[in-house]
Structure formats: C-alpha cells, structure tokens
Symmetry: C2
Subunit: 105 residues, 2 copies
Amino acid sequence: MRKEPPVPAPEAVFKALGNPARLTLVRTLQGGEHCVCDLVEAVGLGWSTTSRHLEILREAGVVGSEKRGQQVFYRLTLACVPGFLACLDGAGAVRNFRPTSCGRD
Amino acid sequence: MRKEPPVPAPEAVFKALGNPARLTLVRTLQGGEHCVCDLVEAVGLGWSTTSRHLEILREAGVVGSEKRGQQVFYRLTLACVPGFLACLDGAGAVRNFRPTSCGRD
DNA sequence: TTCATATTTCGCCTTATGACGAAATACTGC
DNA sequence: GCAGTATTTCGTCATAAGGCGAAATATGAA
C-alpha cells in the first residue's frame, strides 16, 4: 500500500522540519528512499518514536511511504526541500560576503 | 542600533517558521520592512508576545532589526525564504499534475 | 496455522512553547 | 529632568511536543 502525502501546508512543513530528529530523517532521505530500519538507525531513537516522526513528516507532505514486503520505505516527496536546505546550509559559509542570499534578492 | 541576525542554523529556521504567528510575520515582512507596531497588528497578538516571536525569528537568522528613532524596524534577511514559501504555497495548486516540484527533481 | 520480523499505535511522563499582563528600558519632545 | 510613546523582559500558567516501553498489526516463511 502506498501512502501519498496530503497537500503540504506551509506551517506544517516548517513545524515538521523544525526538529533535529526529523531534519536528520529528511537529510537521510535526500540520499534516496530508505526503510524504517535504516531511519531508526540514522536518528538513533526508538522505533516507536521514529515512526511517529515519520508520520508527522508524511502528514506534512514532506515524505511519502510505500510498503513492499514486510518493510515500509519512505522517500522525499516535497521537491523544494533539498534546495532550501542547501541554501540554509550554505548561508553560514557565504555570510561574510553579503547577507544570506540564494538565487533571489 | 542595528541587530544583525546570527548565522542561520537550519533547524532553528524551521522551528522559527513553524508557528502561525511567526509565519504571518514573515509573510508580512516579504512586503518590505515594518515597525513592530505594524507587526503587532498583523498577527493580532499582544506586544510582548509579538516581540518574543520577533526575537525568535531574529535569533534564527530569518529577520534583522534596526532601531530608528523610537521605533524598531524589522526586515527579512534570509533570502531563500520567499522562494521556498512560494513553492510551498504553489505545491497545493500543482498537486494534480505531478508530485510537488519546484525547480528541481 | 503458527512463528518471526517490521512497523505502528497507545498510554504515560517530562520538558518546551505560546499566550498574557505587569514592570523595565529606550528615545523624543518639552 | 519629566512625561509619553515604543518596545522588550519577566513571571506565570495552560497546552503541545517528544521520548519510552508495551501492546497491537501486518506480512512472509515454515
């Protein structure tokens, strides 16, 4: 069964990404889809907690899941996220040249 | 006195934007700089609460403030935010054509 | 059917958030 | 210096969020 995420509501997206564990999950998923087992290891939290975090990300429309066999695979579904993350990650580095800017001003 | 925001830490940025009042503040500031008095009205909360929200946004590196006369003006300083917001806002609209995408995939 | 593995749901507890009003602080004009 | 306006800081309180382990659910293998 495939669970498509709902239409992303901006506030929910930000709230979902505003947590270290969930941000780690998203960064991990930038490398491609992963089963929950991988993700549990990536965040270093319990299964139940990780599962809850994934649910929040899915409800926010950031990720989608698909069950294959006895495993559930998650992947990023909100394509603007990686670019924005890259901008934020880069923001510190560029800091001394000009106020943080990424493609617009 | 001008208060430049610190280097934005991704998690703090998301956390800062993951609140309806603060998202309203940011959307308001997309239209240009505003004094706190305007912003208080825009969010419809008390002065102390609004001030706290602005502080959080500033600490996250999303906005910067400058005092001119007896008023303090806030403005957006994180340039990648408007584009990302536009993507999120558009995500719903495009939903039926293809999975949410904004400039990459 | 029965068992093992993978994942989610539930209930509980602790800590973080968000709102308010009162008091403190900063700047202007008198 | 004193009063008035603009904003921030502080203390308090109610609610939300995040973590855990135990129990429930689903799938594949025997």
